[in-house]
Amino acid sequence: MMHEPQTLVPATETKMTARDVKVFYGEKQAIKGVSIDVDMDNVTAFIGPSGCGKSTFLRTLNRMNDTVASARVEGTITLDGEDIYAPSMDVVQLRARVGMVFQKPNPFPKSIYENIAYGPRIHGLAHGKADLDVIVEKSLRRAGLWDEVKDRLHDSGTALSGGQQQRLCIGRAIAVEPEVILMDEPCSALDPIATAKIEELIHELRGRYAIVIVTHNMQQAARVSQRTAFFHLGELVEYGVTSDIFTNPRQERTKDYITGRYG
């Protein structure tokens, strides 16, 4: 299949770039030459049907695919111009700079406080208890959770509601001062109110971190992102300004998908 033209949107500051990225799981090619720029000031949403490669591609951005034995990545991905697949790249450090929030909230089976404090402590970002206290409060505030948990910081993180747990996970990602936050369907296990809170949080975090979100919910992509990329069968079919994608997509496949005519 011909690789169709993509609209690369000029950004004020490009945080990550991918060029001709291909991902293979054994013999099977999951990503077929994707090039995209993720910019600092905009939330980028990846949409597409199940199996289109959007999550796989998201995971290449902080080398989460390294943990899959059969996975092989080709092409170039850079963070601030630095090749993240270069041998010199410290993967642990990379994953601190490019944080990730998953579909199902997965707090550590520890206290709320420890969930946040763990990362900064192992990354040596805090010197002493007072420092950690500051980081925990700041991270929980940025994650929009502080007021709800400040009086029970030593309760278990897993005792929180689903939406609170997900905000705790976002707070945990924020605590290590990342530059990019990847979110893989962060609201798919949440009710509409909890979803709205996460979406509002994404809006508040925008600009401070480069944010990429994978979502099955097109209305969510429309609500939270400024740039939308549509993936289909391992290809990036179209990438553009969100309002253009949802009112006037250039590609027939994008149109069929977002109008509910796919398949």
Binding site: M218, T247, I258, T259, G260, R261, Y262
Partner: protein
Amino acid sequence: MAEHTIKAFDEEIDKLRGLIAEMGGRAEAAIENAMLALQRQDKSLAAEVVADDKRIDAIEAEVEKLVVQIIALRAPMANDLRDVIAALKIVSVVERIGDYAKNIAKRVPSIAANQRTLEPVSLLPSMGQVAGEMVHDALNAFAARDADLALAVIERDTVVDDFYNSVFRTLVTYMVENPKTISECAHLLFIAKNIERIGDHATNVAEMVHYAATGVTPPERERGGSAPQEV
């Protein structure tokens, strides 16, 4: 175009298009019959046009309700969204077109009372025909998602404008020469103005159709005609 995975969505869109086609057909017939009533000085046909306008108004209300329902329940995107928004805007314009036709029909009795044939009246049916065809084609373009046909409608508006200028000059000349004709000529002038407005509205519909079909607003064009030159 491929069907929606959710069949009920397709049915609603089809219903919407059907209503607009009916409304367009009725507006077109209203223009035609109003002009015919004027030509033949047929008061009962004129009264029919006035009565039939109620159905046009009812369809407008029905479409508005359906569009609100589709937006609320289906969250339409891309061309679907452009279609339903265009539908909503088109019906309010077609409703106005119906009103202009009704207004023309309402003037028929006043003109018929004078039992006189005026030369300008002979120009009006042709003018009305062009405007009626514009309405017809604009709505056909919507049904067929035909941007080229929409552009052709937009182009044709100058024909109606030229007719209007010509009728305006003729009527003013009549009134200057024979003040006894002033009352009828004033009615005829309003009729010409109404047809000219119908042309403008058909143009607006065509612009919306172009946007719905392509996602792009047609290029701005010179708006002529609404203020005729000095006689």
